[in-house]
């Protein structure tokens, strides 16, 4: 056996980076031994259930608990009045606002939490909810965000009246939350004033919900004797929750243990801190027994988090060749009744200013006004980095409108405006530095793969026959991996992340991270990173996350930050261990460190075959034979503060056929090329992309949280809220290019959100394209059959 073969075999045996390793976490899930929050049952545990408001806006005149309390098995009924002495009837939000834990004199949205019932089992709790009598005086609801700042608009937040200095800016109206701007307004306006061509498109990015199959919940357990509080909860950011719980309760962080056990999907829904969690914690502290609160599906869709709800206008000034000269974006953001957006503190509109996309835009201006309405709070990033889905949507839609106006093909207009490969790192006019990319290559690869000219020819023929066929194209750039602590923090904590790696004497590894997996496969992929860095097989590397008592502090998993930040911390921590291992190897081999070469899983003395020490041998020596003056052991911690975000990108193409009699859209083909830099596990990447595409399909084609004029939520069950089944879901085709991030230790950028971010405007692009020859430039989502059918009727296509 030649040495070269051996080296390759040893490398393959590690199952490290680049390997489609089967997932380590699967073993428990396929046996039904996963442990989710609702699976946790503690001795003496009680159950909490919520009394919720039937009205969107009303004053609470009285609450009568007597009948509920008389029901056998009911232990307590708590209202804002009961929480007031503890100062827990309101809580701070991540966005610098406050939110009522239980409605304080007023309700601000339908299904708002008014009282919490604690009972011996969930059936009794549900019975008691119906027995709590609440008398309301209805107030005029504010549902239309466009009317929020009218002089005669009903005032929602009486607690803020007269407080015109908001968390992010001066407030112009009692229903105004903030104004936020980026870019150079005057310079942008000047370009628009003298441009050859200007296009402007209004679009509404509707309110949706991430709807993971596991709803939110928690089990709080306070030990009155030792003062320790343990909370199991569905959180994408357990360490932040610990800090917040400690600040709210006054219990030291060392006595607060937050555990995110297995999480049944997050998608942004499980970033926030919800009244139900707080009520379970308060009830456990007061009663001294464990209390469980788990919401049902209706509560989930109605109250814990929403996403989007951006009324946007995209405007491009260009020359007659379609070259962009300036971009202007204006947004009216509906934040609901409390500003509970989950964004880095300094960015009330998230990273909306990534809206220059993949294009070389000389100057731009973004203006965002956030307003209160009588709807649930939230504003989470549904499978995306903060507001990046909105940013990508507005630029990609407006690019299509520009192409249409100039009668330039939508692939060609993008090609003309792309940031070129040689321009990276590229500083955008709105302040970001795109780290790496080769957009032209990616576009060409997709157009070749689908035979784009043939598709256009087919479309022409179909149009001649009166059939509706559309081709959607999107060339998106994301910004993920929040983020550098110089501009990203949550409640003052910088958005670093962490890894702690321990190599045991026999050479196996336990590693813990500050992130938390929700299906992304961290237990497999982090192990693969360590395997490649340390030369220890990934099977021998155990990964643990989510328990604040054991894991190092981290900001959690959302905004595709696990690989860009947690993955970087993992690689750097492993390299610290490798550096120490090199010293030990030099000591064992009695050579200088410089005489050693690292090869897969061992250090070899240069030019002396056979003189080598494997990582396993070094691990053993680390516990009994280290160089003089060196401390024993082999472990390292890294808190990684990224120098920049990462900027994954992709090119997506979608082909649809629309039935002009029913309005039904059939997605015939969806081709997704992603560039996420270095690929850790191709199997998992493909899985993430399939899932993200399907969630994008859901948003574009059917999901919405619609409200009537009274503020009643009209679609909060899975009967109404669209979650695609096997039948509707298209077949996905995936492809990739690899352009590593230059600043990331292993060159990886993050991938799981790209398919959601990129596919949504692609579906719209395809549906609109089916009508573009008839002068249609934009159609608002969701593109369900009824709405598409209405467009067909307006155009009288079936006459």
């Amino acid at each position: 056996m030649s040495e070269a073969t051996t080296k390759q075999e040893r490398e393959a045996a590690l199952e490290g980076m680049g390997c489609s390793k089967k997932r380590k976490e699967d073993a428990r899930f396929i046996q039904g031994t996963g442990r989710y929050t609702d699976d946790i049952k503690l001795p003496g545990m009680l159950y909490a259930d919520m009394v919720r408001s039937p009205y969107a806006h009303a004053r609470i005149k009285s609450i009568n608990k007597d009948e509920a309390l008389a029901l056998p098995g009911v232990i307590a009924v708590l209202t804002a009045e009961d929480l007031k002495p503890l100062s827990l009837h309101w809580m701070p939000t991540l966005a610098g606002d406050v939110q009522a834990v239980l409605a304080d004199e007023k309700v601000h949205f339908q299904y708002q939490e008014v009282a919490v019932v604690i009972a011996e089992d969930r059936y009794i709790a549900a019975d008691a909810v119906d027995l709590v009598q609440v008398e309301y005086e209805e107030l005029p609801p504010l549902v239309d965000a466009h009317k929020a700042m009218d002089p005669d608009a009903p005032i929602l937040r009486e607690d803020l009246v007269g407080k015109m200095e908001g968390a992010h800016s001066v407030r112009k109206h009692d229903n105004h939350i903030f104004n936020w701007q980026a870019g150079d307004k005057d310079a942008t306006d000047r370009v628009f004033d003298h441009a050859d061509v200007v296009v402007s498109q209004d679009m509404y990015y509707h309110r949706v919900h991430p709807c993971p199959l596991e709803t939110c919940g928690s089990v709080a357990s306070f030990d009155k004797v030792n003062g320790h509080l343990t909370v199991y909860l569905t959180s994408q950011a357990p360490h932040v929750v610990r800090t917040v719980v400690s600040m709210l309760s006054g219990i030291p962080e060392s006595k607060v243990r937050i555990v995110s056990p297995d999480i049944g999907g997050g998608f942004g829904n499980k970033v926030g801190i919800y009244p139900g969690y707080v009520c379970a914690i308060v009830a456990s502290i007061v009663l001294g027994v464990p209390v469980k609160w788990v919401e049902d599906r209706m509560e989930n869709l109605s109250t814990t988090a929403f996403a989007r709800d951006y009324h946007m206008t995209g405007e491009i000034a260009a020359d007659s060749n379609g070259i962009i000269k300036a971009l202007r974006v204006n947004v009216l953001a509906d934040h609901g009744a409390f500003d509970a957006c989950a964004d880095p503190s300094k960015f009330p509109a998230g990273l909306m200013h990534i809206c220059t996309g993949s294009y070389d835009v000389p100057v731009a201006h973004v203006n965002v006004d956030g307003v209160y309405t009588n709807k649930a709070p939230g504003g989470v990033a549904y499978r995306c980095s903060f507001r990046v889905t909105e940013a990508v949507y507005v630029i990609e839609r407006t690019m299509d409108v520009l192409a249409q106006k100039l009668n330039i093909d939508k692939a060609e207009i993008r090609r003309r405006n792309f940031v070129k490969a040689e321009q990276f790192p590229y500083d955008t006019c709105l302040g970001w530095q795109l780290d790496s990319g080769d957009y032209h290559t990616a576009l060409d690869k997709v157009l070749d793969a689908v035979d784009y000219p043939a598709l256009r020819k087919e479309q022409e023929e179909k149009r001649a026959k009166g059939e509706l066929m559309g081709i959607g194209l999107v060339t998106f750039t994301e910004i993920v991996g929040a983020g550098p602590s110089r501009n990203c923090d949550i409640l003052g904590v910088g958005m670093f992340d962490s890894a702690e790696i321990r190599v045991h004497p026999t050479g196996s590894v336990m590693a813990r991270m500050g992130t938390i997996t929700q299906g992304q496969g961290h237990q497999t992929t982090y192990a693969q990173i360590i395997a490649s860095e340390l030369g220890i097989t990934s099977d021998e590397i155990s990964i643990e996350e989510g328990d604040t008592d054991t894991a190092p502090y981290g900001l959690g998993t959302y905004g595709s930050r696990s690989t860009p930040v947690g993955g970087a911390a993992t690689a750097v921590a492993a390299r610290k261990i490798q550096a120490k291992a090199r010293k030990i190897a030099a000591h064992l081999l009695e050579v200088s460190e410089d005489d050693l070469d690292w090869e897969v899983d061992r250090f070899k003395v240069k030019g002396v075959p056979g003189q080598e020490k494997t990582m396993k041998e070094i691990a053993w020596a680390a516990y009994n034979n280290v160089p003089e003056g060196m401390e024993p052991g082999l472990e390292a911690v890294d808190y990684y503060d990224p120098p920049n975000f990462t900027y994954p990108y992709g090119v997506y193409l979608c082909v649809v056929d629309i039935d002009k009699h029913t309005g039904e859209t059939h997605v015939r083909r969806f081709y997704a090329l992603d560039d996420c830099g270095t690929r850790i596990n191709p199997m998992i990447i493909d899985g993430q992309i399939h899932g993200g595409l399907n969630e994008g399909f859901a948003v574009a084609m059917g999901q919405e949280l619609p409200f009537d004029k009274q503020g009643n939520l009209l679609g909060n069950t899975l009967m109404d809220y669209f979650v695609p089944t096997f039948v509707e879901t298209p077949h996905w085709e995936t492809d990739y290019t690899v352009t590593p991030s230059p600043h990331h230790p292993i060159g990886a950028k993050g991938v799981a959100e790209s398919p959601h971010v990129g596919s949504i405007p692609c579906f719209t692009s395809a549906v609109v394209d089916a009508f573009s020859h008839l002068g249609i430039t934009h159609m608002d989502m969701p593109h369900n059959a009824y709405r598409v059918w209405q467009q067909i009727q307006e155009l009288e296509l079936t006459e």
Binding site: Q31, G32, D121, L213, I263, G265, G519, Q520, G687
Partner: protein
């Protein structure tokens, strides 16, 4: 409310227990019998994460009363593997990366277990319709379809080798 006595075969073992007349089977399984592999996602029969097998049919245990399980045979994910090891459906879900967060997986596998007895050699289209009562938010279904196809193939091969043996 007076409790009712029910007696049924659960994963091959006889179970006797007292339940409230209004109690849902999923709660009996999870709370009373501590089999938490069966999950709750919507409590309205839409999502299928609570799917179990009852008298040879897939049922959504969030809308079956526990009293309806009296004198039946129920199989949950905990009963899918046997003394010989994992069921082919379980192995195929791992092999084809047919799961991510794992929450829908147990119900999904219980449906696949029954579906492949109803239709041992399904086309992709038949899988899509036959499994459509079970939702997944993570996978985009594509790898679940592959898993069901792989399980079908392996189950058929296993049956063939039994026949020829």
């Amino acid at each position: 409310m007076a409790k009712q006595h029910i007696s049924f075969n659960l994963n091959g073992k006889q179970v006797d227990t007292l339940v409230e007349p209004r109690e849902l089977l999923v709660h009996t399984l999870r709370e009373n019998l501590n089999l938490t592999g069966t999950h709750i996602g919507c409590e309205s029969s839409h999502c299928g994460v609570c799917t179990v097998d009852m008298n040879g049919q897939s049922v959504k245990s969030c809308t079956v009363l526990a009293v309806q399980a009296d004198k039946t045979e129920v199989k949950t994910v905990e009963g899918l593997a046997d003394a010989d090891g994992l069921h082919e459906v379980q192995k195929a879900f791992v092999e084809e990366h047919g799961l991510q967060c794992g929450f829908c997986t147990t119900g999904m596998m219980m449906r696949a277990y029954r579906f492949l007895q109803e239709n041992p050699n399904p086309t992709e289209e038949e899988i899509r319709w036959g499994m459509s009562g079970n939702l997944c938010r993570c996978t985009g279904y594509q790898n679940i379809i592959k898993a069901v196809q792989t399980a079908a193939k392996n189950l058929q091969n296993a049956n063939k080798s039994v026949e020829t043996a």
